[in-house]
């Protein structure tokens, strides 16, 4: 559960767009989509697991005496490497707290650091009614956070990462018409296998592939500095396969079940100046499906962004 909350809070709750003014919006906070040379984002996300769901797709909202909450800070930095290529990184720090009856536990730690590269393959150098602005991106997530099998706390509140190197590729397409904007962010990722000694023996853990498609739209009334947005992001993860190491014959001990969720989100952003913006977002996984074999959360995020213009 904590592993899942980690993924949600560190990756899912910061998808707010800045106001549409001057094209400085971002459906992916680690990418610069405006005419800037550098961008800094600071985010805080508060998450709460409200239900658990098995492969029957029926959520169990559980007892009010139990709670799983998170508080995650994230720093995103991106800088131009050339006119159309940019590089960046994300550093998350998270606090998790679990309460089950009279038992309580909380921990804070570094999450999984992510390095990213982006290429603007469809630049907006002239006006077009239909042609979107497009980016291709790739990212490498480093297992700098503590993984579930490496936990030391009884209720696993010290789990702040997945424990895997994960390679992501995706695209971001953006289009704006006066007061409206739309975006599409398809991405796929692959988490590399690793061997652990922390499960009572040597085992190979293979998470495999995952992917998501983010889609949303926004409205900036009067083409002003305020923007309201709506977004959906269905996600799919291949189940975690646990097997014995190659030396022991690669015997599959457990082929995990597919994990599915769908984020539904709303956000509001305000451009305080041509280089500063602030946004708040709400993400809920209990509203739309399909969802299976995971926990469902609700989270609230606030994000501040500063840009350095070219």
């Amino acid at each position: 559960m904590i592993e899942f909350l980690t993924a949600l809070v560190l990756n899912g709750a910061n998808h707010a767009l800045a106001a549409a003014c001057c094209g400085k919006s971002s459906a992916a906070p680690f990418l610069m989509v405006g005419d800037d040379q550098m961008q800094l984002s600071l985010g805080l996300a508060l998450g709460n697991v409200v239900a658990h769901i098995a492969d029957d797709g029926v959520p169990n909202f559980g007892s009010s005496r139990n709670s799983e909450t998170s508080q995650a800070y994230k720093l995103d930095m991106a800088a131009l490497l050339s006119d159309r290529i940019q590089g960046g990184f994300s550093v998350p720090i998270a606090t998790y707290a679990v309460s089950r009856g009279n038992l309580q536990e909380a921990s804070t730690g570094l999450g999984d650091v992510r390095l990213s590269l982006g290429y603007e393959f469809l630049p907006s150098w002239s006006y077009s009614v239909w042609r979107p602005q497009g980016f291709l991106f790739t990212g490498l997530t480093l297992p700098t956070g503590r993984s579930y099998d490496g936990r030391r706390q009884v209720m696993a509140t010290d789990v702040t990462g997945t424990g895997y190197f994960t390679w992501t590729v995706g695209a971001l397409l953006l289009k704006k018409w006066t007061v409206w904007d739309v975006f599409l962010v398809p991405e796929t990722h692959y988490s590399f296998s690793r061997t652990t000694q922390d499960l009572g023996g040597a085992y190979t853990l293979s998470p495999g592939f995952g992917g998501s498609i983010g889609v949303g739209f926004g409205l900036s009334p009067g083409s002003g500095n305020l923007r309201f947005g709506f977004r959906l992001q269905p996600k799919l993860e291949q189940g975690l396969e646990v097997s014995t190491p190659a030396a022991a014959g690669n015997l599959v001990m457990s082929a995990g079940a597919v994990i599915a969720t769908c984020d539904t989100g709303i956000d509001a952003s305000y451009m305080m100046s041509s280089v500063d913006s602030v946004s708040v977002s709400y993400t809920d996984q209990t509203l739309l499906g399909p969802a299976m074999n995971t926990s469902l959360s609700r989270s609230l995020g606030i994000n501040f962004q500063h840009r350095w213009e070219r």
């Binding site: 005419d35 002239s126 006006y127 083409s223």
Partner: protein, 172 residues
């Protein structure tokens, strides 16, 4: 319209009310010996204002060498009267034509202010994009428009036909 790697404007001339002079102006591309420099400007955008003096200097430097300079004001969200006042105060050496319903901006594909186009007498787009590589003129270290005009004066094609345009989007 682009054919065999060359892009042509469907416009052959630009005609409209000059916000500075107050009279109707017609700019025919065929009458400029080396080309017509069409500059989309705003009365509100700080990026546009920052480049006005650069464009004014370029018009004084390259105007006598065979180029015709003309400014265009296309922003639908800017009051014409306020724009007239802004450009009159600016003391620009070229006319700034009010673009009704952004027709000129649509014909050329102008995206932001300042966005510049250098058009040959036959309508061929020799260069289009930003004036330079910065939002703020005095922070730029690549001066695209100046380099393009200098190359045309030397009888060459600009080495970059299209560059990124920085500034505020034109509201249509």
């Amino acid at each position: 319209m682009c054919q065999m790697g060359f892009c042509f404007s469907e416009l052959k001339q630009i005609e409209g009310l000059d916000l500075i002079g107050g009279s109707s102006v017609r700019v025919e591309f065929k009458k400029a010996r080396l080309g017509t420099v069409v500059m989309f400007l705003s009365s509100r955008c700080p990026c546009s204002a920052s480049h006005q003096s650069t464009l004014d200097q370029l018009s004084k430097e390259f105007g006598p060498r065979g180029f015709r300079f003309v400014g265009i004001h296309s922003n639908a969200d800017e009051e014409v009267e306020a724009a007239r006042e802004h450009f009159k105060k600016s003391g620009l050496a070229f006319p700034v034509i009010q673009d009704k319903k952004s027709g000129i901006a649509d014909a050329l594909g102008a995206f932001k202010t300042p966005h510049v186009f250098v058009l040959a007498s036959n309508g061929e787009v020799l260069f289009q994009g930003g004036v330079d590589n910065s939002h703020v003129a005095n922070a730029a270290n690549k001066h695209y428009l100046q380099e393009a005009l200098a190359m045309i004066v030397d009888g060459k094609k600009p080495s970059q036909k299209e560059v990124r345009v920085l500034g505020c989007e034109i509201r249509r």
